[in-house]
């Protein structure tokens, strides 16, 4: 297999390996910062949706529209809107934050709505004030659904960051554009594999975190 030989040769170079590590770290940074920011934003927006029916319809509609904007367009249009440099990684971060927030708002709102009415009623009746009730009852109970959304968000972010390579900030995506320009498969294969492995590892960590946060969700009936 020439491909295997190519890959071995490609990886044989210490400079390449260092560059790969840089790209990987870039990729992690570009995909996970938006994820964390989005979770916070989505929880706040989801809360608004949950409390106010009007906001709900508007935000859900908006988040659907966000998805119609091609990621490439969003990456490149942000500099024009907020005045960052075209090559600024912030563009990718902001764009992915917009996407991921749009992705998460709906599940968060639904998870909050799915908290049984009798549970929130019981909390209110025991004298929980709204903020405390939200933080200690409704939010923890939404974690399983939120976690499912975050997992999808992390996977799609990790895969989307690559598109940023077309505007010069793509983490591992740079391997695809490099490989394509040079008609060279090795970096492309390595890029795909590293992206998959990264997605898998992050997903695993997210599952561990979720399990840590929701011991109650995995107890069986007696």
């Amino acid at each position: 297999m020439t491909a295997v030989g190519d890959i071995a040769k490609y990886l044989g170079d210490a400079g390449t390996r260092a560059a790969l590590l840089d790209m990987l770290l870039d990729h992690v940074y570009l995909s996970l910062v938006p994820l964390v920011v989005s979770v916070v934003l989505a929880v706040l927006l989801g809360l608004l949706c949950h409390r106010f029916r009007q906001v709900n319809a508007t935000l859900i509609g908006m988040s659907n529209i966000v998805y119609t904007i091609p990621s490439l367009a969003l990456f490149a249009i942000i500099p024009a809107l907020i005045g960052t440099q075209v090559l600024d990684p912030l563009n990718v971060i902001i764009a992915l934050t917009v996407y991921t927030t749009a992705l998460l708002v709906r599940p968060v709102a639904e998870a909050l709505a799915a908290v049984p009415a009798h549970v929130t009623a019981a909390a209110t009746a025991m004298g929980f004030r709204p903020l405390r009730r939200f933080l200690t009852v409704e939010l923890p109970l939404s974690v399983p659904v939120l976690a499912a959304g975050v997992r999808v968000g992390s996977v799609s972010n990790i895969s989307l960051v690559s598109v940023g390579a077309l505007i010069g900030t793509g983490g591992l995506g740079t391997l695809f554009t490099d490989g394509f320009r040079q008609r060279y498969l090795a970096p492309i294969i390595i890029g795909i594999v590293l992206t998959l492995v990264l997605a898998l590892v992050v997903d695993l960590l997210l599952v561990l975190l979720r399990n840590r946060l929701t011991p109650w969700a995995r107890v069986g009936k007696p």
Binding site: V119, A121, A123, M126, G127, P140, W216, K221
Partner: protein, 349 residues
């Protein structure tokens, strides 16, 4: 004491849930609000802890207008139990019970200790404390719900159809448990149910409410059964209210007669009379019919219980003789339906 003064609640959609309710719930009693769907019983209950505020009128708890108290503060001092228990699925049983003490600033250690005491009080084994609600049966969840409501030792307890979602046998056990707890704790309890039998069974006083939010009758259960205020109450109370009202009549004057017995296991020979089979402890085991066959007995009547039990023992007995036992279950004698009815008749006259 809880007082409703001319309380009316109209919802935004125009329905009137409660209509000019005037009612006093005495301290240390169980008052049951009962009625069909849409009669406003739950709305009335929820106005006590301000889950709903009245459109007009005043609700007073211990003389204080609840509208003058900040809702969360008010609610922490009032226990609340609901049909689905409303337990927090993400917290252990112990932490569920400790909720209100923690809210009111107890240390975690002290709150958990209190929670453990309460689990014992409601008859749950301590090891259940570390489980999650989903791991409990419906009846156990309701007990946890009651324990949680009692955790901060509130003087007032609001119970909204707390036992409606469990099966009849468990429900009866929970009702007994509630009566036992009440004898011990002496709370002011408002209890909502749509089940008139439950209302009559546990209420010191029962408020029958009618669709549209009207109070139809507010009276002790015996009075409700014997003197319903109108056709609606009579209809709601049900068909055999005459018989059921005997639950509230004591049995003094019912004469207990001797009965022929045979020891369990001894050879049965024919005899013109029915004879009662007893074991070595004199506990009734069944009857020997005149033809020598052994048949199971009817219900047992414990001395001192209501006269309804005496009549039922006689009516359900294959021999027509109701078996009377003492508190230990030992045979005390027999009664006939005629005797019991004579006593009831003579009470009327």
């Amino acid at each position: 004491m809880i007082e409703f003064r001319d309380v009316t609640k109209r919802f935004d959609d125009g329905t009137t849930a409660v209509n000019g309710l005037d009612l006093v719930v005495e301290a240390g009693t169980i008052t049951v609000f009962v009625g069909p769907s849409g009669c406003g019983k739950t709305t009335s209950l929820r106005m006590v802890n301000r889950m709903i505020d009245p459109t007009s009128g005043t609700v007073l708890v211990d003389g204080e207008d609840v509208l003058g108290v900040d809702p969360p503060t008010l609610r922490r001092g009032i226990g609340y139990v609901i049909q689905q228990a409303g337990l927090f699925p993400h917290r252990t049983v112990l932490d569920n019970v400790a909720t209100v003490p923690l809210l009111t600033g107890w240390t975690r250690r002290k709150a958990r200790q209190r929670a453990a005491e309460l689990l014992e009080l409601v008859g749950l084994p301590a090891e259940l404390g570390h489980r999650y609600p989903v791991q409990l049966s419906g009846g156990q969840q309701q007990r946890v719900g009651v324990a949680r409501a009692l955790a901060a030792d509130p003087p007032v307890l609001l119970m909204d159809e707390p036992f409606s979602a469990v099966d009849p046998v468990v429900r009866e056990g929970l009702q007994d448990e509630l009566l036992r707890l009440q004898a011990e704790l002496d709370k002011t309890i408002v209890f909502v149910t749509h089940d008139i039998d439950e209302a009559v069974r546990i209420g010191d006083k029962v408020a029958v409410m009618r669709t549209g939010g009207f109070l139809a009758q507010y009276a002790p259960p015996a009075e409700l059964l014997t003197r319903p205020a109108d056709d609606f109450v009579a209809g709601f109370v049900g068909k055999d209210r005459g018989y059921r009202s005997l639950s509230f009549v004591d049995s003094s004057g019912v004469e207990v007669a001797e009965v022929a017995t045979v020891a369990e296991g001894s050879a049965s020979e024919s005899s013109p009379d029915w004879r009662l089979v007893v074991d070595a402890d004199k506990r009734p085991q069944g009857w020997v019919a005149p033809d020598g066959s052994v048949v199971p007995g009817g219900s047992l009547y414990e001395v001192g219980a209501s006269i309804r039990g005496a009549l039922d023992a006689a009516l359900s007995s294959p021999s027509g003789l109701g078996v009377v036992v003492d508190a230990g279950g030992h045979l005390a004698g027999v009664v006939t339906a005629r005797q019991v009815l004579d006593v009831i008749e003579s009470r009327r006259g």
